[in-house]
Symmetry: C2
Subunit: 332 residues, 2 copies
């Protein structure tokens, strides 16, 4: 499975349309390199507007489906790939979410994930804008599944501009000969969607992995503040890498983190997007301050191998985890 | 708060009594360096017997209280410190646990923690020996607290051989003068006990932190196997450091990991004991292959500072975590 990440700046002078053009060029580049799934950065086509609280910024929100998702759907269809994009969703007047959409190679929206954990810190005033996610389909399943989402990506559906399972099958079909061995069964990449602040919560990664996720994607907008010194900057980015690698370790899954870069007002976003393998090894990482199309192969057999070696799922003490459903265990 | 860790080998030629003497010398050294709490490695006074399944090895088990804990209690009392030791506990014929005891400066056992997650992998046949932990006090609290344990260490009770709050107070008392400022209120170090395999489970760290833990201790016995190459060895140790640093990040707590070193039969234990600060920075780390007394100061004010900067506890989605109490979310 080949996964592509698109890391870019959204310069203050750029319009939404210009940012979309940047993203489109990079998504196209990733597809040309054989990516079967491409993941955008958080709120990929706009400035990081939560840096201030202003009702002006609600203009960046759109319904889903809407123009922004149509742009992504057209691109996915044109390239014949799976594409997940991070959007500012207007659900109703006065009700907005930070929402990822998963789009299939026919250009249809498979479903959405609404960011569950919402931060609020100086210059990251997200609680003003985003209602915490709920479950888009609140059926019987809700109690178990909560709002956590995993999508089954049937990779055989990828038409693909580069290498990939889909193209290999086509080559076999065109050769006019019977394959010596049976065709590989269609492969599915079970992809979980989380967003930014979710990345600090082991609960979110675990719940997504327990639904079968083989890959967890974290579109992200995180950066440095001018008050902090270089050592503190380094510590923060190191913590950000470490916590996400820890999800790959604890759950035996691939993790893809996609962060914007560049300075916007007071924040310098630190890029450094990466893909980690089950067990936490970093497969590929982008620089801190450049546009980057990051492509990596995710060998799904590594999941079995990793989890057989360190079988953490076997030994979870589900009989003793009830406290996790409490805010704090201080008796109040 | 000054914390000391004792990392040593348990050479195959050594008796339990010799290993206890090694540990005692190192614990004494840590206390002399001002440690107010000392943490031993896992099963500190014996070989890592779970490398094979043999009923011969049950000879290493003792009741609690018993000779092993009396040895630790005498040492804690003599040094006037808090001491936590990792023991093979015989609870009843045919019922054994991997158990940590927390001992106060008067030499009394404050309580125990029984390892909750038990591994079983080639050369780590712990399920043969250790029954998974339960809650030593199964009252009304059990549903919330499970078997997870946090101990309130009143640091003012530490008599101490080195620097520390206890000694500062003594110095003030001896000076015969009234202090210019009110004495600092007695400080408590809330210490959570987990063991080895628990370290791979974010659930265990979270549940311990939710009970107020400021420091989580992980006595450990983990090492390399001869079939794996140097790159795989490095990957494993890096994952082990990363997952434990991630607990310090996700929970804003100090983490102390204490691992044995040295070759025992087929396993080369990798030492590398360390103490991490809230946010994940490593304060001190021991080498991979030497005896080491590791001492570090844990400034508890860092916990507030870290959690105010990255307030993860504020935003947990306890309404959507029910799935964590399930084995797997596949509908079966």
């Amino acid at each position: 499975m080949r996964v592509g990440l698109t890391q870019h700046a959204c310069p203050p002078t750029h319009t939404v349309e210009q940012n979309r053009q940047t993203a489109a060029d990079m998504i196209r580049d990733a597809a040309a390199q054989g990516a079967q799934l491409v993941v955008t950065q958080e709120l990929f086509d706009g400035p990081y507007f939560p840096q201030v609280e202003s009702d002006e910024a609600f203009k960046f929100a759109e319904p889903i489906p809407g123009k922004r998702t149509q742009f992504l759907c057209d691109l996915a269809k044109d390239l014949g790939i799976f594409l997940t994009g991070s959007c500012f969703e207007k659900r109703a007047p006065g009700l907005y979410h930070n929402t990822s959409v998963m789009i299939d190679p026919s250009g249809s929206i498979m479903g959405i994930y609404r960011k569950m954990h919402i931060p609020d810190d100086p210059r990251f005033y997200e609680k003003y804008y985003f209602t915490p996610g709920d479950a888009p389909s609140c059926g019987d399943d809700y109690e178990r599944r909560g709002g956590w989402k995993v999508f089954d990506l049937d990779i055989a559906r990828v038409r693909g501009l580069g290498l990939g399972v889909g193209q290999t099958s086509q080559a076999q079909a065109n050769s006019g000969t019977q394959p010596q061995t049976p065709s590989p069964s269609p492969q599915t990449l079970k992809t979980g969607l989380l967003v930014c602040w979710d990345q600090w919560y082991p609960e979110a990664a675990r719940l997504t992995a327990l639904q079968g996720a083989q890959l967890i994607c974290y579109p992200t907008a995180i950066g440095w503040q001018p008050e902090d010194d270089a050592a503190e900057h380094q510590r923060q980015r190191d913590a950000w890498v470490t916590i996400q690698r820890s999800h790959a370790i604890a759950n035996g899954v691939f993790v893809a983190a996609v962060n914007r870069h560049g300075r916007e007002d007071d924040i310098t976003f630190w890029g450094s997007s990466f893909i980690a393998a089950p067990g936490g090894a970093i497969l590929a990482q982008a620089p801190a301050d450049e546009d980057a199309v990051l492509v990596a192969d995710c060998d799904l057999l590594l999941i079995d191998k990793n989890r057989q070696g360190w079988p953490f799922l076997r030994d979870r003490r589900v009989d003793a985890y009830a406290g996790l459903l409490h805010r704090y265990l201080d008796g109040t």
